[in-house]
């Protein structure tokens, strides 16, 4: 009889495709700003993400989408609600998660290879993975650049290394916070293509935050549109465009136009509502 109350505890993962990997339930985050005012960054967000899904979050500046990513990464605590990764409540950074930061965030005093290997050098014992590191570098076109320092690389190459580093521990989940925001349009498209390929090859679950509507639709299985602060989910749009996608094809696809129009409409309504 005492065992009765376990029924709603999520079980350990059974790799069924429609399992939920990231469960976000009524999640809220309030923090106190420097001026002492309470800021409601997120308000009762609910979202389930399946293993292997590619989810993009778009929203106006300061809508709390980066906050959402920080909560998922275990970098900040949440105020209310539930947040489960693989059935376990998030209580801090997890080895199941790799984070790709804005503008690469490489350490300038280390070579590219050492930067990519960093996750295996810190935070406890790790199985040796020299082969995987070399493969990651090769796959992202950094094979010959392992001994270079970050300042010797272009912004696009630096962010490739940032992605390699996030993949070093072979995590199930990749969280990406506007990873290509600082890059020029052409490099950005190139890296979008490459990210799609990496994702298709090893089917990580990816949550990517972006400002760019075209980037979101190009990459995502689902585009989540968020409102201005306090961040709420306005829409959860399925992207039915077949893969592999290319930028030339996708702009001609009728669903692309429809989705872009819908997302743009939602975001514009936000801007006007808040001016």
């Amino acid at each position: 009889m005492l065992m009765m109350d376990v029924d709603n505890t999520p079980r350990r993962p059974s790799a069924a495709p429609d399992d939920v990997l990231i469960a976000i339930d009524q999640l809220s985050k309030t923090y106190v700003s420097a001026s002492g005012a309470a800021v409601h960054a997120l308000s009762r967000i609910s979202l389930d993400i399946k293993p292997g899904e590619f989810v993009c979050v778009v929203g106006p500046s300061g809508c709390g989408k980066s906050t959402l990513l920080r909560l998922l990464a275990g970098l900040d605590g949440y105020s209310d609600g539930r947040l489960l990764l693989d059935g376990e409540a998030v209580a801090g950074p997890s080895r199941k998660v790799g984070v790709v930061f804005q503008a690469a965030n490489l350490l300038p005093w280390m070579t590219v290879r050492d930067n990519v290997r960093l996750p295996l050098r810190v935070g406890g014992k790790h199985a040796p993975a020299a082969d995987r590191i070399e493969r990651l570098l090769a796959v992202t076109g950094l094979g010959e650049f392992g001994d270079k320092y970050p300042y010797e690389l272009s912004g696009g190459m630096q962010q490739r290394a940032g992605i390699c580093r996030a993949l070093a521990r072979d995590p199930e989940i990749l969280l990406m916070d506007e990873p290509f925001g600082a890059l020029d349009a052409l490099t950005r498209e190139r890296l979008n293509l490459e990210l799609q390929r990496i994702w298709q090859e090893n089917r990580k679950t990816i949550l990517l935050i972006t400002h760019s509507i075209s980037e979101a639709i190009f990459l995502a299985d689902r585009v989540i549109v968020m409102s201005a602060r306090p961040g709420r989910i306005l829409a959860d749009l399925h992207v039915p465009i077949p893969r592999p996608r290319t930028f030339d094809d996708i702009v001609l696809h009728p669903d692309y136009a429809r989705l872009a129009k819908e997302v743009r409409g939602l975001l514009n309504a936000q801007e006007h509502g808040h001016d």
Binding site: L75, G92, V97, P108, K148, Y149
Partner: protein
Amino acid sequence: MTDLANIAAPAMTPKPTKPSRRLGLGSPIAWIGLAVLILSWIAAVKLLNIPSYILPKPEAVVRALWSGLAVSPASPLGYYLPLWSTLSNAAVGCAIGVGLGLVIGSLMAEVEAIERLVMPYAFALQSLPKVAIAPLIVIWFGFGDGSKIAISALLSFFPVLINSFTGLRAVEPERLDLMRSLSASRLETYRIVKLPNAAPFIFAGLDMAVVYALLGAIVAEFLGAQRGMGVVITQAQAVSDVAGVFAALIILGVLGIVLHGIVRWCEAKVVHWGANRKK
């Protein structure tokens, strides 16, 4: 993949840093300044008829320099023995001061309780002219090498303390987020991120520390010593040998420039990413 590698190629030409430039002696204008200074010195002595116990003739200073340098290194009349004595005391004191400054600065940056405990006194002591403590230190440590080392250590301690503390706290929050996202331990974060990040600050402190250590050793020698460059100066002063004082000062000036150059050279080797640093 290769096409992407090619696109990035132009951005990778290494940009060498030139430490000699940073010394300020690479530019011809610096040497012109020196020539003007020496010429106006000669002119002042010749034309204004300034007595030699106020401003010696340049040739008298050169003669004094020569008599101190052109002797056997073991000669009690040369500069080598006093220079070695001053330099070794300053070096030991500097090592102690820099070591303590780095350790206490690190503890202050890492542990808030230690920061609160030490910071008010560190700043109070920092604003005290520390040379004024020197007579007290001579009472405690005597007229031997101990007091020279202690004053050198005291003077070189503060710049390293303040700079290492500031540098360790000046880490970009994104880099700390990275280490936290990897569940890195505090020691790992210190060693891998905070310390390299603070290296340019620490070297700036070290640059001051070596000069202060030299200053400390000489001040201690002024207060009483059997040997050292401070003794050379006070002995020359006692017999109104102004040319001898000038010569000793030139030796110390050159020594200061050399020490500064060594620190800069080490910095360029260690902080190799510094000149090309990008956010």
